[in-house]
């Protein structure tokens, strides 16, 4: 088995693991992690396709390599938006909880 096939199988397993995590995990942050695992697997599959297409003196087909570079940046942006959303939701809920608690204690005092 050559390196491309080996890493290709590795990518296939990573895709399965990531997909499982996205569906089964309940917490958003764990879903985001699983999304990134899955993304990594997809990019590796692109990588072995690039490797198999090595020609013209290049170590790989530059087209899928370029697609991966674009893809990694897009996946990162997605994670940034998702993480910020999770944090914001957490803070808004936290503030509401604090307010409820202080309102509650004020009632007790009154």
């Amino acid at each position: 088995m050559n390196a491309a096939t080996l890493f290709g199988l590795c990518g296939a397993v990573l895709v399965g693991l990531g997909l499982y995590g996205i569906i089964v995990h309940h917490e958003p942050i764990r879903k985001i992690l699983a999304f990134n695992l899955l993304g990594g697997g997809v990019f590796v599959l692109f990588g072995i396709i690039a490797r198999r297409g090595a020609a013209a003196g290049f170590g790989g087909d530059p087209v899928p390599q370029a697609l991966v570079i674009t893809g990694i940046v897009v996946a990162f942006s997605a994670s940034a938006v998702a993480v910020t959303l999770v944090m914001r939701l957490f803070e808004v809920n936290e503030a509401a909880r604090r307010e409820a608690r202080s309102g509650h204690s004020a009632e007790d005092a009154g």
């Binding site: 985001i32 692109f46 697609l67 893809g71 897009v74 997605a78 998702a82 959303l85 808004v92």
Partner: protein
């Protein structure tokens, strides 16, 4: 198809530059807003909107009159190495629908988002206007892209433009709806991307026109297209991956809900059409039936849930799930007994008619719901009494849009559903007839549930929270009337929709 004719399909045509403008103009608008500041955003949008409409009209006119698709080879690099933009008849129609709804939304949203002081940028103001134009550019990129990876980037543009619009008000409920939407959308994107990788690995090209010539029925293409379809279904909110839609579409500001429901979900739907009809070779009966059954499930479930909602905006959002279902009936009916079947082209026309009339009607209804909310300060359906008095034009627009959803004549919705029935009979697929009829009855139920209380004048009269200008109500009415006008197109296949279809051309003698 021989290599020579394929190559001939992929050369810049005269007027091809219009496709570049259709994508870039709204995006340049987005950039201008970020640069000049949100306080000037409305003015930028008011410049971009009419220009966008003119470009859309020019594309439609050009494809229609020449009977040929418009093509632009970007940078002069021909596929497979480079990228092509291509507008066939269906793309041109989608671009036109988008331009009309976008222009209406720009007019409707004027003055809705203000900064903290005149001349000072506000958060919602900058975000709404910049992303509205971005969604426009992204949709045009989805409709015109001819390369599957370029379409992936376009889909991501669409997702990143749409998600923040959902939680513009920053409340916990809308944040949570936006997060759910984003997670579904991201899973969809990554599955789509996986399919793209497999297709490149098998055929060495991602160009749809070139792929149509080389794809064979083999495991790799089935795995790839299945993964991509699941991903796109998640983004389109087709049953059973619809769970994110209601809260997301109902939580957004009215102007944003309008484009999310009317247009954004149709971007990913359009790509499912492209994959199955333009990339896959022949024999797709089974998957087409499966997609049809999911659509039927969506029609029934969405309508029943819409009937049970207590809030108006949620009702409209659930109705979107049902109406998306109708779009998927296009698959089994257009595949039917073969590409040459007369009922296939009837199904195509019905599908596009449904898409257009739902876009206009749904945008109008969300706008109307937003104005009812502004006027009454709530959107609880059991307390809509008097709405007909305070925002009469908005309520009228809602009712007219509702006619189209129910499928009552004259309306685009009626024509679409009539032609779907015709195609079902013609193809001998009687089971869709039951679903279409039942869906129409249920729609009538949920629309009347809204209309009837608005006509009652309660005592004491409801307190008026805000005066909604007639001009904004007029925008919603105009859109609803567009949906009605579509009911006057002749009930026969539009040749326009067949222009530039690779599959059709491949089957020509």
């Amino acid at each position: 198809m021989t290599g020579e004719t394929t190559a001939a399909l992929l050369a810049t045509t005269s007027g091809g530059y219009l496709l570049v403008l259709a994508i870039m103009l709204p995006l340049i608008g987005t950039i201008a807003i970020v640069l000049l500041g949100g306080q000037r955003a409305e003015r930028v949008a008011l410049v971009v909107a009419p220009l966008g409409l003119v470009i859309a009209a020019a594309i439609l006119a050009s494809v229609w009159s020449s009977g040929q698709p418009l093509v632009y080879i970007v940078g002069g690099w021909r596929p497979p190495l480079g990228l092509a933009l291509r507008s066939d008849g269906i793309s041109a129609v989608m671009i036109a629908i988008t331009a009309i709804v976008m222009c209406a939304t720009v007019l409707f949203a004027r003055g809705q988002f203000r900064g903290p002081a005149p001349g000072v940028e506000g958060r919602a103001q900058m975000v709404f206007w910049s992303l509205l134009l971005a969604v426009w550019g992204a949709l045009n990129a989805v409709f015109l892209g001819d390369d599957l990876f370029n379409l992936y980037v376009a889909l991501e543009l669409l997702t990143f433009g749409a998600v923040p619009l959902v939680c513009l008000d920053g409340r916990a409920e809308t944040l949570s709806a936006a997060l759910r939407y984003l997670l579904f959308a991201l899973m969809g994107s990554v599955l789509y991307l996986l399919g793209v990788a497999l297709i490149y690995g098998a055929y060495g090209t991602l160009d749809i026109v070139l792929l149509a010539g080389v794809v064979r029925s083999e495991p790799v293409i089935w795995v790839a297209v299945a993964l991509m379809t699941v991903g796109l279904i998640a983004k389109t909110a087709l049953f059973p991956l619809h769970l994110w839609l209601p809260n997301a579409h109902a939580g957004a500001p009215a102007a944003a809900s309008a484009i999310l429901s009317a247009l954004v979900v149709k971007g990913s739907f359009f790509l499912i059409l492209r994959l199955w009809f333009d990339v896959m070779p022949g024999q797709i009966h089974l998957p087409a039936q499966i997609l049809g059954f999911l659509g039927a499930g969506a029609i029934l479930l969405g309508s029943v849930l819409a009937l049970r909602q207590a809030r108006l905006k949620l009702l409209i959002a659930y109705s979107t799930i049902a109406q998306i279902g109708y779009l998927f009936l296009l698959f089994p009916l257009a595949v039917g007994s073969g590409i040459a079947s007369p009922f296939a082209s009837i199904a195509w026309t019905a599908g596009l008619l449904q898409l257009a009339s739902h876009a206009f009607a749904k945008a109008a209804m969300f706008m109307a719901a937003g104005m009812i909310y502004e006027a009454l300060g709530h959107d609880r359906i059991d307390r809509l009494g008097g709405a007909g008095r305070v925002v009469p034009i908005a309520v009228f627009a809602f009712a007219i849009g509702g006619l189209s959803l129910m499928g009552l004549p004259p309306s685009g919705g009626f024509s679409a559903k009539w032609m779907l029935l015709q195609a079902s009979v013609g193809e001998g697929q009687w089971w869709w007839i039951i679903v279409i009829t039942l869906g129409g009855l249920l729609a009538a139920g949920y629309i009347f549930r809204v209309i009837s209380p608005t006509l009652i004048q309660p005592f004491p009269a409801p307190e008026l929270k805000a005066v909604v200008p007639v001009s904004r109500q007029g925008v919603a009415l105009a859109l609803a009337l567009f949906a009605v006008l579509l009911g006057f197109v002749p009930l026969e296949p539009w040749p326009l929709l067949q222009i530039g279809r690779t599959a059709v051309e491949a089957h020509l003698p």
